[in-house]
Symmetry: C2
DNA sequence: CATAAATTACCGTAAACACGGTATTTCTTA
DNA sequence: TAAGAAATACCGTGTTTACGGTAATTTATG
């Protein structure tokens, strides 16, 4: 029976063996109890309002039918305060990223030992999020990559950077010349040099390159 | 004495009380031993080549002098395979982000219990990264935010999106017409409509808006 | 101080753009 | 099935771009 300090867990998992071992794990652990289990997202949703609302949903990501990722936003609407933990055998970047973006609160690998899973659930309840270490590494790498690219040294001179900004902003050569109080011919020359340096041949290219490489 | 299975830890921490409790924690724990401890980045660096190289450096982020974040890249150069764990009482977004970008392998809160810290170090050695749950939550939120902005509904039709991509890529109207096997007049019409919808008046603007709003 | 790099300036032209208007056909979807 | 959205197509025109070449002056920098 649930007490004030007991948290209701739902399990959504299609692999019967893993599902059962999860059920056992939850049942055996103080502070948690099994609210409902299903082998598909659809069936889990059907239990809405019938079974006791979950505090945490443990869900496989690779379910047939509605995928676990699509399900996340649905759960969040049905149970506004629910915590969703994705359990998966995969640790591929795409899925991690999609699940996190969809609002998952944790992402654990199935190969993690039961004690690990329980430990993470407890931490989740205390207000954090939880990532398996290999997942954490991937997530951190995602954050690092863009900043490394930022370090590309800007091949443009000061003046060229200024003019590039105006070009990207869509000003005409004449407008730029007016702004900088120089001849339009000069702006034209700078533009040619900028194009040459960045290997672009029109403003669209320039804008794309300048923005993506953080040159301006 | 270090054995094959023992990992050398360095501690860089200026708070003497916390430093001592960390030292005790490491000393008491099987599989780890204390290599060197310092109360500043500068002193830690001075021990390079003298003391036994670290497998893991535990470091406070808010050190006087050279900050812990600045130190990360230095350590990584001195000890190419070192794992760096940031320990802090703060969990403010900026520092987390900076430390991760600088290449930290873990980010733990000082208020975490010793068992937690040890546990995380062990996981780190096994190849993951490690984040305290409150930190994990912040990091995950960072990933979610940009994607929420992405949810701005794209006012462009399918065809317009395709043509926008080509326009941003710098193709001429004629080139686009050829690619899509439609008349250049049609591409021209689409372009006009795209400009109207996005309130832009030239390709630079289009590229900027399309990229920044994630429309393409 | 000498040399290179950066900034300035001018000319000409084919190609492309931006945008006005108008109009038919083909989806969608209420 | 009727109405609206989307995709298609054509015309004309003034403006702007992209890029070729050439060159003087100013500003670093070794």
């Amino acid at each position: 029976m649930p007490t004030e300090n007991t948290h209701t867990i739902w399990i959504v998992e299609d692999d019967p063996i893993f599902k059962e071992s999860l059920e056992d794990l939850i049942t055996m652990t103080d502070g948690f109890h099994l609210g409902h289990t299903a082998n598909s997202v659809e069936k889990a949703i059907q239990a809405f309002g019938i079974k006791e609302n979950p505090d945490i949903i443990l869900e496989d990501i690779g379910l047939p039918g509605l995928s676990g990722i699509e399900a996340i936003s649905i759960y969040k609407k049905l149970f506004p305060n629910v915590l969703i933990v994705i359990l998966t055998i995969f640790d591929d970047d795409e899925r991690v990223f999609e699940a996190i973006k969809a609002g998952a609160d944790g992402y654990l690998l199935k190969r993690a030992p039961g004690s690990e899973i329980i430990h993470n659930l407890q931490q989740l309840i205390q207000g954090g999020a939880t990532l398996s270490p290999p997942i954490a590494k991937k997530v951190m790498n995602m954050l690092v990559k863009p900043s490394q690219q930022k370090t590309i040294k800007n091949p443009l001179t000061k003046r060229e950077v200024i003019i590039t900004k105006y070009l990207v902003d869509g000003l005409t050569i004449n407008e730029i010349a007016d702004k900088l109080v120089i001849s339009k011919h000069t702006v034209d020359t700078h533009t040619k040099n900028i194009y040459k340096k960045l290997h672009v041949h029109n403003r669209s290219n320039l804008a794309t390159v300048a923005i993506k490489k953080g040159l301006i």
